[in-house]
Symmetry: C2
Subunit: 258 residues, 2 copies
Amino acid sequence: VTEAFASLQPVQDVGTAHRLRLIRKLESIAKISPEERQAVLALPLRVREYGDAADIVREGESPPDSCLLLEGFLCRYKMSAGGRRQILSFHIPGDIPDLQSLFLDVMDHSLGTLAPSRVAFIPHVTIHAMLRDFPNLAAVFWRETLIDAAIFREWLTSAGRRTAHQRVAHVLCEVYVRLRAVGLHDGAGFNMPATQAELSDALGLSAVHVNRVLQDLRRSGLIRSHGKRIEIVDWPRLQQAGAFDPTYLHLHQGRPDV
Amino acid sequence: VTEAFASLQPVQDVGTAHRLRLIRKLESIAKISPEERQAVLALPLRVREYGDAADIVREGESPPDSCLLLEGFLCRYKMSAGGRRQILSFHIPGDIPDLQSLFLDVMDHSLGTLAPSRVAFIPHVTIHAMLRDFPNLAAVFWRETLIDAAIFREWLTSAGRRTAHQRVAHVLCEVYVRLRAVGLHDGAGFNMPATQAELSDALGLSAVHVNRVLQDLRRSGLIRSHGKRIEIVDWPRLQQAGAFDPTYLHLHQGRPDV
DNA sequence: CGCAGATTTGAATGCAATCAACACTGGTGG
DNA sequence: CCACCAGTGTTGATTGCATTCAAATCTGCG
């Protein structure tokens, strides 16, 4: 709602810890050489802070840079005729949610926060230069956008052919696995900043129904939740309830020779 | 059902007309230089014919090549728990439906025919070599996979937040615009090989409901159809009925300087 | 404490699914 | 040439999952 926080001054210095988040992410989907690692760490970052429910890029715009999420929780979304929102993806620290704008100049959807977030902007020209100098990094970034597409396919399958129970269980499994892949989980649980209304916009359900399904999952002993934290009590059964198969996340695979 | 046709001998000679189909497609989304054009035309193609309802690649496999659709109609799909099918995308001649397998070695979905089709296989190693020699072509192919993802986003929005009427109208608009972009439309109409049952698997609806919605669209004077041919009678109203905005197809845009 | 956002609950409604026939169509073989 | 047949399209009746509407808690926070 409020974009007041977004008006803070851009900050120039970013801790190495934040930069390593991107490395960690890239390494979760491909192998990175020391030189490539250096190149990524050398990327110039312009950092901005956003409050809750703030838009970072809007449908129709042509942003000159892509952004890297450092801290917080983002989503991409579209508004459909009738003012209904469809959330297309969730994004965790280390993700580059609008990498596609590198080659698609007009945004066909919006990018916004679901929690107060710290975001780093990287000019397209800089990324292009890096990818030209390090062709293997181009392969890694391309692969990243392909995994992005694979997740859309999975969500489409959920929205089209899975029951409400399956959808809710499935998305919880996905977020947990993705957080775990970059070490941002919390034991058997994780921090889930999205509200039930936001979850419903992601799953194509009503908020009321999401609420009821979550209660079912709790009653059945699959999950537990206090506030924003979700704890997975019975992973095998949750996975089964959501028909969750992590193959589509394409994690931990070697890079093909390019 | 039958895969008998698939066992035909691979053919080596492909008419230039078929090769130009890919050029036409690429030119619908980016600019191609004469040298790049030559490189694409020089790609070695191994052609195979498939019957109706045949699988070309299956979920879980790791194909050594990508395929280019020369003639016919393909779809990508997933089977969800419970044996329900979700069709993820339709593909028309000129498309390379499994380009993502260039960097994602395990298929997370299947690719099959919705009509008798002629398909050309291109080894990944060959494509990689071409992309290395022509970096701008790499940008074009990358862009192609990004548009692929944009279409998934749009379909997800349909499945999640659009009514049955909107979904049906929307997909008809999309197929028409995509066919028209490569000159494969037929005046104000086009050939739609998918059955109503297949349409329903793409839209996340039942076949019965798709049938009723199509009747509504015909009664309302938005479309007409004889057999597999669909004619668009009132484009503005069809577009409005489907809340269709072609931006997400990212057609006819120049290539950014790389 | 008070307020706004979020979650929860209950009741009624509705869109689309399901079930079950029936009609049509194009292709095949007798 | 026609009968057959499987696949496709069409129709009607019923069911049900999820939505909508409305209101009551709960929670965090200034």
